[in-house]
Amino acid sequence: MNKFYLAGALLAASSSVLAAEDNNRNSNNPLAAFNPAFSVIFNGMYYHDNVDGEGVDLLEDADSAFHSHGGHEEHEHDELKRGFNLNETELTMSGSVDSYFDAWLSAAISSGGDFELEEAWVRSQSLPAGLQVKAGRFLSGIGYHNEKHPHSWNFADQNLAYLSLLGDHGVSGDGLQLTWLAPTDSYLQLGLEMLQGDNLERAGSVIDAEEIAEEISAELATDVAAEDLNLADQNGPQLGVFTLRYAPDLGARRALQLGLSAARHQDSQAFHEEGGGELFVTEGDTDVYGAQAVYKHFPTGQYGKGGWSLTGEYFHADSDQKAVYHSDPAELGLPVTSEQGAAYVEATYGFAPRWQIGLRTAASGIGGEFSEGDETEEARLSRQHSAAVTWYATEFSKLRLQFNRNDVHGDDGNEEYNQVFLQYNLSLGAHGAHSF
């Protein structure tokens, strides 16, 4: 299997070389350059923490009103271990299909050689009136940071706010996206997405009924089948996302973008295991609301010097579910609600040519509440403070040293600890785009 992909990669790389040679002729079309644009992104790090290498697990298990078991949050990630780590190697290919469509493909190869298709979409390029449709698998336009690929992050890891509500990889899925760009001097974009919604890691996650039924059967020593959980069929799109972005024209030296997002997952599911031996499965809908503000002051000096940016996002998730299966049949129909906020703020500054410093603070579990019937339990606040120094050798390669100070509330109480990342990130191939 891997040989097949390697062969594909080599083929694509050689075709981009041919495309480069073609460019010596007058094309009058920048979109034709390197078509398809192919790149490989190499990402690796030296990692250390002072909690025996459990630093990432602790963050993922931070106290949350959205705890569930058997869902996609138990996906195998490339967990960071102390010492050397080869992170996901990303392959991307993009270009114009014809005058009607452009397309994008990105796939990640884990250090173990597993291949995962992250994005594969086509986008219309010929609709009138500022309309565009994207179809396939793509990163949702929810929030600001969600659409960014890891290689363009200002930090080595996902921020705690996204980690706690949207998951390590953010919100992505199979579906359709419609955007409309208003014909105004200021930028005003509305977006509407319909997604299958079957792969969310946190808010809006679904469970594997077979697996949970087996687990319950084992725990209770009875025979519980998947159908006994009374979960609705997940046929059809379950996730709708609405986005609004606004940016006034502040000239060529700075930019501001404000945005609002709202998402509804109409069939979220969760499996709960209570201390007293109660097991139950809930189902209902989940709403996520987000607000974002991004300000960038473009560099006045050379090689990025003097540029700075400030980004802040807040998300609030709210889930109303009912027990569709309960180990105590009298509790069937028990209303179960979860609600929680998360936020991060990050700042970057180009303090010298090719050198950037980044500061980030993030919190999860803001106002978190988990209620079963009349009983309410509060989720405790977890915090993360990060500082990173990045050296951009060129546009195609960077080295980063990052320090995190975490204060995490988890199942085993409060843990304060440090993480250190020394990361390299290189891109081989096409010229990366400087999207906002």
Binding site: N24, A33, A252, A255, Q302, G432
Partner: protein, 321 residues
């Protein structure tokens, strides 16, 4: 239709309604006037915005993506540019890879099929012969442009050719005003072309001189004026000067008898001044685009460039001879 509907509603719904409808009508009128004849142009760099303004006059409305003095390689595809692309009749850029990092994003996300290719897209450098077209491409050589050196606007002769092509493009996009574009271009060319022999005469003393440049920004200017670049302050295009590379340059300035070191404000003074202090060459700060200090029009850009080069040469011969 709208007028009739609104006048029927006014007496019933009171003053607030009147105000709302007046604004609506005004907006509709403004929209219909705006769409009449004006060509809406988004220019990537100030030199192209300036050329479009000088040729198009009142018939065009020009917005420029980058400010004078900014590095056109490193502009971000900021949202307000997407809004400009959305409504543009023409996107006028340098091309030849200069905007490779951001123009594709603008064209792909601007939601405007008309400007994704000609005639709605005009890439200036790709309409004229280019210098320094590489025979091999390797990132190890730095940020080399596959299509050759993109900074063609520093040769006024190429600008004359481009002004004709641009006026033709205006006429294609706005046929009602074709004659006027042609007349405006001819008037512009007549005035502009009288400058060329004058500039060449003023720059006569520069001919044959060897120079060092910070980046490969000046090759078309040097080619026009008969000057040669013998080295660059950047060790490779797009990489900042290193102490080791600067130390080597000290030797080559003397060997190659380089007299001037050309740089832009965005390059910073340090490297150029460091080298000037250790060699017989003199540093000279130059504008790259109209709108930078001392320049407004394209003609005044060449005036300023030649004035500063000649002045630096004389100053240098006086002080370092």
């Amino acid at each position: 239709m709208t007028l009739q509907t609104s006048s029927r509603l006014i007496p019933r719904k009171g003053a607030r309604r009147v105000w709302v409808h007046r604004v609506l009508i005004a907006a509709l009128c403004a929209a219909s006037f705006g769409a009449r004849a004006d060509l809406r142009i988004l220019a990537c760099e100030p030199e192209w915005g300036q050329l479009a303004t000088e040729i198009g006059g009142d018939l065009v409305t020009v917005k420029t993506a980058s400010a004078p003095g900014q590095d056109a390689h490193h502009i971000q595809a900021r949202p307000s540019l997407l809004a400009q692309v959305r409504r543009a009749d023409l996107v006028l850029c340098n091309g030849a890879g200069l905007e490779a990092g951001w123009l594709p994003v603008l064209l792909n996300r601007g939601g405007n099929p008309a400007v994704r290719q000609a005639p709605g897209l005009f890439l200036a450098a790709e309409q004229v012969d280019r210098l320094e077209v590489p025979t091999t491409l390797d990132r190890a050589d730095g940020d080399v442009h596959a299509m050759g050196n993109p900074h063609v606007h520093l040769d006024p002769r190429r600008m004359v050719s481009l002004s004709q092509q641009l006026a033709e493009r205006f006429a294609t996009l706005d046929p009602d005003n074709a004659t006027q574009y042609q007349q405006q271009q001819q008037a512009w060319q007549t005035a502009f072309e009288t400058g060329i022999p004058r500039w060449e005469q003023q720059a006569a003393s520069l001919k044959g001189s060897n120079v060092i440049t910070y980046h490969r920004s000046w090759v078309y200017l040097l080619d026009w004026l008969g000057m040669q670049r013998v080295a660059e302050l950047e060790p490779k295009p797009g990489l900042p000067p290193t102490p080791g590379h600067l130390a080597e340059l000290v030797k080559s300035v003397e060997q190659q008898q380089a007299s001037l070191i050309l740089y832009r404000p965005i390059n910073g003074d340090e490297a150029a001044n460091w080298l000037a202090a250790r060699t017989s060459a003199c540093a000279v700060l130059l504008p790259l685009s109209p709108g930078e200090e001392g320049t407004e029009t394209l003609a005044s850009l060449y005036d300023t460039l030649i004035e500063r080069l000649v002045a630096a040469q004389q100053r240098c011969q006086g002080s370092k001879a």
